[in-house]
Subunit: 166 residues, 2 copies
């Protein structure tokens, strides 16, 4: 696993500044997403909340972090899905980037802050313009949040969008 | 406005640790929500993104922050709605607290990072168990994100939930 490149590590320079998952953002969370099962189109990522990421109760994670973790994992998943849809490698040109069109989350149970969290996504539809998926968050192996995302492809019309601009 | 207490400043100690909006969280965002129009059941809050809160493109805000801002503003709005529903003051006992049941967001336009953002909520339904509302985010006076939230009331069964436990 440690030798495998995360989806986010394929972002072109212009797309790598996201606070949640951009490798270039020094302050950021650096969320890293990977294939869980490529056949089943399932992906995962893991993140350990900081002690100050408390929510409504101090033993739980705050909702905004959960939304951010799933949002960034979803767009990373969409990236992988987009290249797969086009039948080309993740480091090929033109570089792809997706952003959130819709994020729908159901908070089923409180998410405890005392351990590593796992984000999951299952791709259900890919077109030239968007990727649709189901998402979920697990804590201690139990699903605490589920939902769905629609990620929209950005047009590759920026001069700095190419990796050659790095 | 500066003399008016924000909804979040009414949270009992046990409920004041949220990274997004808890007054007790030193590291947090300290989101402050207020009535915009009590008759119309509309609320607002404002937040200026930090330079590192960049998103897919560096001139835009990252989606996870947007979700966090609306999530915390929504639960603060639910708090005000809950006390109003019970016909009592926000500093009365027992202390109320809401957490997110559902968060649904539609990202209509990119949200620029170069200025103050405004979060809005309009309460559409209040019961003994939940508050339902429409939410939106504005940048430079334009709506960039809209959606809805269902906030669920937490049971007041914790000994530290009372302000007397402070």
């Amino acid at each position: 696993m440690s030798s495998e490149k995360a989806f986010q590590d394929y972002y072109a320079p212009a797309f790598s500044h996201c606070y949640g998952c951009g490798p270039s953002n020094e302050h950021g969370l650096h969320i890293k997403s990977y294939w869980l099962d490529k056949e089943k189109k399932e992906t995962f990522a893991r993140y350990t909340p900081k002690p100050w990421h408390t929510g409504g109760y101090p033993e739980n994670v705050y909702g905004g972090l959960i939304a951010a973790l799933l949002d960034c994992h979803g767009n990373g998943t969409a990236l992988a899905a987009g290249y797969m849809h086009e039948g080309r490698a993740m480091d090929s040109e033109p570089a792809l980037r997706y952003v959130t069109g819709n994020l729908t989350l159901n908070f089923k149970k409180p998410t405890p802050i005392d351990g590593e969290l796992e984000m999951r996504a299952k791709i259900t539809e890919v077109t030239d313009k968007k990727v649709v998926m189901e998402v979920s968050l697990l804590a201690h192996g139990q699903v605490t949040v589920d939902g769905s995302m629609v990620c929209v492809r950005l047009p590759a019309t920026r001069p700095d969008a190419s990796r050659a601009a790095a």
